[in-house]
């Protein structure tokens, strides 16, 4: 009897993850943003800018160097959508309903995060699979490739919490996107993702160096292509963990307060 009433965090989280994944897959905008958009951008940017950025190189070189950015594009622009969906669970009364049942308070949120990470993993897989025949190469150790595939998932979790922090305070999806898209755009453009640091204007170079998008991109490049990895990876992990902890703590505070009083 008591067993059926006791909340089971793992089981309930899995159920919630399944729900969140199904909702994500049924939202055409999120699917397009996380799968088609990064591929489209990779193909189009390569066709148009490869010869300008690397006049002596081929189109494949641009894919090889630019691929980490295109992965982050897919993760970063889909994050506001799923964060807005999470926040809408607060407003629609879904969370309030769950709270009346013997389910751990945070199972719904944990499920959303698992689904978010699965969404990021799909983006990573799709971009890498399409990038390989176009010129992307893993030339370092196999564990480097594993790190290359996992690092964007961790950073994606950080971006997810950043997006959730905005989403729990915003009235609708439109506002979430209008707030976050400029931030994501700035992060991706003012980075070393598209153009080498030396070709950026002088005042941008220091910005690009500390920009977390550059940090993660440089770490991914080191993991895929070799060179010193310890420091870049440490820096990228530190940024991701910092985003998770700071944005996560702030978002959770509001999330808890909101789910306790759903009418607000």
């Amino acid at each position: 009897m008591s067993a059926s009433v006791r909340p089971a965090l793992v089981g309930d989280t899995l159920v919630m993850s399944g729900r969140a994944l199904r909702l994500t897959m049924r939202d055409p905008v999120t699917v397009v943003l996380s799968v088609i958009f990064p591929l489209l951008l990779m193909l189009l940017m390569t066709a148009s800018f490869a010869k300008i950025v690397y006049p002596t190189g081929g189109y494949g070189d641009f894919v090889d160097i630019g691929l980490p950015l295109f992965i982050l594009v897919g993760i970063a622009f889909a994050a506001p959508m799923t964060a807005a969906a999470t926040a809408s669970d607060l407003r629609s009364g879904f969370d309030a309903r769950i709270r009346t049942m013997p389910v751990p308070t945070l199972a719904a949120l944990a499920g959303r995060l698992v689904a978010d990470t699965a969404r990021s993993a799909v983006t990573v897989a799709v971009v890498v699979v399409v990038g390989l025949p176009l010129g992307f190469r893993f030339t370092a150790a196999p564990w480097g490739a594993v790190g290359f595939l996992l690092l964007p998932l961790l950073f994606g979790l950080g971006l997810g919490f950043l997006a959730l922090l905005v989403a729990v305070h915003a009235p609708d999806v439109e506002t979430v996107n209008a707030t976050l898209n400029p931030i994501m755009l700035l992060g991706m453009f003012l980075s070393t993702g598209l153009v080498p640091s030396a070709d950026l204007p002088g005042w941008v170079q220091p910005v690009a160096r500390v920009n977390p998008f550059s940090v993660v991109i440089e770490a991914m490049r080191a993991l895929a292509h070799g060179g010193p990895t310890a420091w870049p990876v440490l820096e990228a992990v530190a940024w991701s963990v910092a985003l998770v902890v700071v944005c996560g703590a702030l978002a959770l505070r509001t999330y808890r307060r909101r789910s306790a009083r759903p009418a607000g």
């Binding site: 088609i36 951008l41 066709a47 800018f49 490869a50 010869k51 300008i52 209008a178 453009f189 950026l200």
Partner: protein
Amino acid sequence: MTAALADATPHGAAQSARPAVAADAAMLAGRHLRLMTRRPASIISAIVLPLIFVLLFFTVFGRVMARAGIDYINYLLPAAVIQAVFFSAISSAILAAEDVVGGTLHRLRTMAVSRSAPAFGLLAAELARSVLSLGVLLAIGTALGFRFHGGPWQALGFPVVMLAFAAALVSCHIALGFALRRVETVTVATNLIYFPFLLLSSAFTPAASFPSWLRPVVEQQPVSQVADALRALTTQDAALARPLLIAGAWLAGLLLLGALGATRAVGRSS
């Protein structure tokens, strides 16, 4: 026939029942503009996003373009203008779909409002919005070094071609919005038009930088033709007739397509 009818009915009644396209469209344009000013996303995509894109592209690619021998701000501004028109067009498709879903279009059809007024009203509102974007872009462009190197008549041609492009693209997008109805579907469809047409064009980078098998497509597609025409209008001693004629032909065709599509879609929407 109309005259006979008007004679047979009391004067006031005939006048109030006759749909006046221009007046109705102006009324509905005012409604859309008011709705836009109350929507932060609308203001951002009309003013802030075009600005951010022109600043980011200039900042990030200015040096590599200069190395390729291109004065990038002069090259980029027509692209930014084209992009701003695309933002207006995407907005028009979403607003059109919302008016179908929300029942506004249906409601208007039960009233003595001209059939074509909803499309014309939305078009007028989006053209006004495009002019605002153009003003913002010209101001920031001038600050970054953009100049009209042709005479004053050439410079005047620039906003004219831009508005013609806006009219053609927005009318096609209104047709799309009326036809597809669901806002999500419209968002996806408009982006699938926007990215390939804008990035597989000579708007941001010269056609010569594309792979050779892709170059014919890049050179011939309408966005490139409009970009070429806009660029010719900013260049000293440019041959104007050819780019303007080609762009004009494309735009006339697109406008016709949009007008036919919107009329058909409005007819089916109820």
